[in-house]
Symmetry: C2
Subunit: 155 residues, 2 copies
DNA sequence: GTAATACCCGACTAGTTTAGTCAAGAATTA
DNA sequence: TAATTCTTGACTAAACTAGTCGGGTATTAC
């Protein structure tokens, strides 16, 4: 799990799509204007989002992008994973030989933290983001923790 | 909150210090050898750790570094904050004018996520890391969630 | 006092990533 | 057939990472 501005751009753009794209396809030019993200950069991002089947594209006049499925089934973690190729939180690519052939001191800490963040963002859907007024995460965060206990997930 | 290998190095080094430095000061050369981190790079990191009063330095032969206080009062979040100057998770540096003078769509999401991660890591002390066999984070994470409810913190 | 030890500090750097730009092309509709 | 919109790939400036290098300064032991 990697968290950069690229992931933020992608989630913002997908959220724009979820808000405005319920009926007709939305052009990247529209998203670019509304969200102040460069068009060419959006093209790069949507290329990846399409490959991951998060959006559908329609060419030609009247075309644009649509969510590939219902916004209640698209989660923040999926969007971020699609555009931010996830680096290993660990140093040894999970081999466990980071320190003289042994597991390094903090290996598990980073692995688990990474899983935690991923689990957290896997619980927030575009629907959640659309429906909460002002898009504050605080309110549903409590709910998420109740709903899915913080155990370690196998990514 | 920013999570890079620099933060990982710093936590690893501090953990080494917590494990080996209970009686005499530990030299960076020792840590460098044990943890396979370049000496010069460690010097940079410890310069920051010292400025944040997480370690004490003793010069001259027999000198080295010690934890500045008990390992039960030093938390992972503090270490990472000391070496990874925290970038804003938001795009507008908290001004809230990220989109045409208004708050951007995902502003709060990132702010809250950042706070969440920070909260997690603020609950893990060096003592926790030293005492758990194998340093697995999973076990005490559940405890942390019980202990400090996931409300939004003012950083 | 002088040599060795160890921290201290700033300048520099190769490589990678980020956040783009630019140009050409392909599909679709009017 | 022209306009629209997605599609793709090559390129790039700036920033960041993970270091190296070279010279300090404080302290201790002899």
């Amino acid at each position: 799990m990697k968290l950069t501005t690229r992931g933020r751009y992608a989630v913002t753009a997908m959220l724009d799509l979820a808000i405005h794209g319920d009926t007709q396809p939305i052009t990247l030019a529209d998203i670019s204007q509304r969200q102040e993200i460069s068009l060419s950069y959006l093209e790069q991002l949507f290329s990846k989002l399409r490959r991951e089947d998060l959006v559908r594209s329609i060419r030609g006049p009247g075309g644009g992008y649509q969510l590939a499925r219902g916004f209640e089934t698209i989660f923040v973690a999926q969007i971020i994973d699609a555009v931010d190729e996830s680096i290993d939180a660990t140093n040894c690519q999970g081999r466990g030989d980071c320190n003289h052939g042994e597991v390094c001191l903090t290996h598990h800490l980073w692995q688990d933290l990474s899983d935690q963040i991923h689990g957290f963002l896997s619980g927030i859907s575009l629907e959640d983001l659309v429906k909460r007024g002002g898009f504050r995460a605080s309110s549903y965060m409590a709910g998420i923790v109740d709903a899915q206990p913080l155990t370690i997930r196998d990514q």
